[in-house]
């Protein structure tokens, strides 16, 4: 008559639903949950507000090579005179005297007139690329050797040299080639991407992914144990490992929707605010998806970890806090040296790898883009750090290639699997410790 075996695992699903639901309700009734979630929202919204302000203000384009200036006051900007071969420093030599006469162009045409043309082609580690759009190199009145500053026997080009050992590319410009790109466009693009990566990695994965579990998961089991209410749960036919898991599921039931909602809001706002040809930057959605996913994975592993620490010891916080500081350090390491071996021993290193992989897949031209910006020499008036360079440096700080060295998709799968294994392992450890705990 009895067909089902007499195990407690038979009605597992109902218990899981009950305990998960219970845990979520318990969170919802606590003020501290809302305070923590609210403060988290306010904190990263601050960054978002500044981003909105920066994007709304826009970036000012600079005439990097000074050829919008009309030195000889003849009504023709230097750039136009250079292009047409008249002497920009002599008022009586100007394009108006040519046959047929040329009308003066507005100076603004010569602010961003020589954009980046460098591209990487093939596998050669010595490549000639680039083009002098405004002719101020071709028309330069000088010797051939001065037009070929990078000594590759090609006048007015850009030489790309790959370092034999590090594999990094170096850019050597000829005089006046690609010297006046569109600063505003570049800075907007770079700043936007840096923002997405920065808020994703440090705002979502680090701050929210680390501190929310610290607040919410540390006491998940321990608080019940010290309050004595754990007796109610453990008086039921349910294994302690299950209690551990279902409590975690309840915690995830609170934080995961929070991350998803926050991710949707941020992706929407930044999609509209960011520079794009259409109305919305659809290409970033892949990165946002990875950010939310990485945060969810990180919060899952951290939740398991901090809950385990809470179970292990009444003073679990003493273990959790130094670990949190360690993860903070690892986050910074991963920005600078994403392939450092030490990152394999952290949680955040793997979580950030998911974001990195997505960025590699979504923005395939990132290498060239960064190369343009970080090696850009300010040829313009004054020796300031151009907005191109500063925005490129910020992007370079937050962008890194997945440290495994494999492709984007492979790395993200590897990282996800590793995080899942970490979480499962911590569940195993935490469950085993909880099982061996005597509950007063």
């Amino acid at each position: 008559m009895q067909t089902k075996p007499n195990t407690i695992y038979r009605a597992l699903d109902r218990k899981a639903a009950a305990l998960t639901e219970f845990t979520m309700r318990q969170y919802r009734t606590k003020v501290s949950t809302w305070v923590v979630l609210g403060v988290g929202l306010v904190a990263i919204s601050l960054v978002m507000l500044i981003y909105i302000d920066v994007m709304a203000t826009g970036f000012e384009s600079v005439d990097n090579d000074g050829d919008s200036f009309d030195y000889d006051n003849d009504g023709y900007p230097n750039g136009q005179e250079l292009k047409l071969g008249t002497d920009p420093y002599m008022a009586d030599s100007n394009p108006g005297l040519l046959d047929p006469p040329v009308e003066p162009e507005p100076a603004s045409n010569y602010i961003d007139e020589d954009g980046f043309d460098i591209t990487l082609e093939g596998t050669s580690n010595l490549q000639s690329t680039g083009f002098d759009d405004d002719g101020d190199c071709y028309n330069y009145d000088g010797t051939s050797s001065r037009k070929d500053a990078n000594n590759n026997n090609i006048e007015c080009d850009v030489l790309l040299v790959q370092n034999r050992y590090t594999g990094e590319w170096e850019v050597v410009y000829d005089l006046n080639v690609d010297e006046d790109p569109d600063d505003a466009a570049y800075a907007a693009e770079a700043t936007h991407m840096a923002f997405v990566l920065g808020i994703g990695k440090m705002g979502f994965v680090l701050l929210l992914g680390l501190f929310l579990p610290l607040f919410l998961a540390t006491g998940l089991i321990r608080d019940e144990m010290s309050a004595g209410t754990m007796h109610f749960m453990l008086a039921k036919p349910i294994a302690r490992t299950e209690v551990f898991l279902y409590r975690i599921l309840g915690y995830l039931g609170i934080v995961w929707p929070y991350f998803i909602v926050l991710g949707v809001i941020f992706a929407t706002i930044s999609g509209f605010m960011g520079p794009s040809e259409g109305l919305f930057r659809f290409q970033d959605l892949g990165v946002w998806l990875a950010i939310v996913f990485a945060t969810m994975m990180a919060s899952f592993v951290y939740g398991m970890l901090f809950c385990t620490m809470g179970v292990m010891w009444r003073y679990g916080i003493v273990l959790a806090i130094p670990f949190a500081a360690w993860e903070l350090g690892m986050c910074l390491v991963s920005m600078g040296a994403p392939d450092a071996a030490i990152l394999r021993f952290s949680v955040i290193g793997w979580a950030l790898m998911i974001v990195d992989s997505a960025a590699v897949m979504v923005w395939p031209n990132m290498d060239m883009f960064l190369l343009q910006g970080t090696t850009f020499e300010d040829g313009g008036p004054g020796n300031f750090l151009s907005i191109i360079e500063s925005s490129a440096l910020a992007l370079d700080f937050f962008y890194s290639k997945p440290g495994t060295g494999s492709s984007g998709l492979a790395s993200s799968v590897i990282a996800t699997v590793v995080l899942l294994i970490q979480g499962a392992f911590l569940w195993f450890i935490g469950g085993a410790i909880f099982k061996g705990k005597e509950i007063e």
Binding site: Q2, K4, N6, T7, I8, R10, A11, L12, D13, R14, K15, A16, A17, A18, L19, T20, E21, F22, R25, Q26, T29, A227, G228, T229, H231, F232, M233, L234, A235, K236, P237, I238, A239, R240, G436, E438, I439, E440
Partner: protein, 330 residues
């Protein structure tokens, strides 16, 4: 492993096949020590059916024994079996057990109905079943009319009853109640005692602890006496009482004229000695407390004595324990 959102089917509780040969509770040489202190030492007993009162002073090991039974603590020595299964290793027998912990703290933000039904679902009941069962047990403990009030607004006695309801929701064969009467007002006590008696009548095995003999007396006749972690006495209250009757008991009567009363009392067979601590007090010594108590009111009424109080200074747990520990136990 996926949550069963349809929540159909029946919980496992009803289908659980008990191991009918094993006793509900079995302890064999169980000891529990904290460092060099023994909270429980070498307890051996088996219980099946009926209400059993566990008596002992504070710190006698009542709660420790219950926590050992419920798998909260690991025995230092010995073997514990609930329905033939070791509760420390396997939570399965809890499907047939209800436990009322002594802790006061509860989930104040839940209503009693939510509390009972949520934990019923941990027994494997579906949401719908749990709701029905919760209604049933809350009605049983007399909380039906306040079932949807928050536990935080409950009085002490109502909370105890809610805890009992939570323990009964899976229709358990064994119910363990740790100090269920502590801190309750008389009305709540009555209700809780009735509930416990009713459970005994239904053939369940009930273990209930208290440090007050009179409370236990009103619930059951089968008792266990623990003292300093040792099992002092086990069995029928009357049997233990009879053994206790072999030592003299004292009854102190406060009256207007002690000497006059003494004259009337001395005629009774069971009275072995009389003394007068002062003018208005009379102390009777006897081996048979029950007989004296049966006759005394008649004597007083017949002779129209003015009695202010009758007191049994020995009829409390402390003096029983004193006898048991000094007299070599049972």
């Amino acid at each position: 492993m996926m949550p069963d959102f349809d929540q159909d089917g029946k919980g496992q509780t009803k289908q659980w096949q008990p191991d009918l040969t094993a006793p509900a509770v079995l302890l064999e040489g169980v000891s529990k020590s904290y460092g060099r202190i023994f909270a429980l030492s070498n307890i051996t007993m088996a219980l099946n059916g009926g209400v059993t009162g566990v008596l002992g002073m504070n710190g006698a090991g009542k709660s420790t024994m219950f926590k050992l039974l419920m798998g909260k603590l690991k025995p230092s020595q010995g073997k514990i079996r609930l329905f033939g299964t070791d509760p420390w290793k396997n939570p399965a027998p809890y499907a047939r057990v209800g436990f009322v912990p002594e802790h006061e703290k509860m989930y104040d933000w839940m209503t009693a109905h939510q509390f009972v039904s949520t934990f019923a679902r941990l027994n494997g009941l579906t949401r719908a079943e749990a709701g029905i069962e919760a209604d049933r047990v809350l009605n049983f403990v007399g909380l039906a009319d306040v079932a949807h009030k928050k536990l935080g607004q409950y009085s002490k006695g109502m909370r105890q009853r809610a805890k009992i309801a939570h323990a009964l929701v899976n229709d358990p064969d064994l119910i363990i109640l740790d100090e269920p009467l502590q801190g309750c007002d008389p009305l709540a006590r009555t209700t809780i005692m009735n509930v416990i008696r009713e459970l005994g009548r239904m053939g369940r095995t009930v273990l209930v602890s208290s440090h007050i003999l009179q409370e236990i007396e009103r619930i059951t006749e089968q008792i266990i006496i623990l003292h300093n972690g040792r099992l002092l006495a086990l069995g029928n209250l009357h049997a233990i009482r009879e053994k206790l009757d072999q030592i003299p008991h004292r009854i102190t009567i406060e009256t207007d004229d002690a000497k006059a009363l003494a004259k009337d009392v001395i005629d009774m067979d069971e009275v072995q000695g009389i003394s007068f601590p002062d003018q208005k007090n009379l102390t009777i010594q006897t081996h048979n407390l029950g007989a004296i108590h049966a006759q005394l009111p008649k004597v007083i009424v017949d002779h129209a004595h003015k009695v202010h109080s009758i007191d049994n200074p020995d009829d409390d747990l402390a003096s029983i324990l004193g006898y048991l520990t000094n007299g070599g136990g049972v």
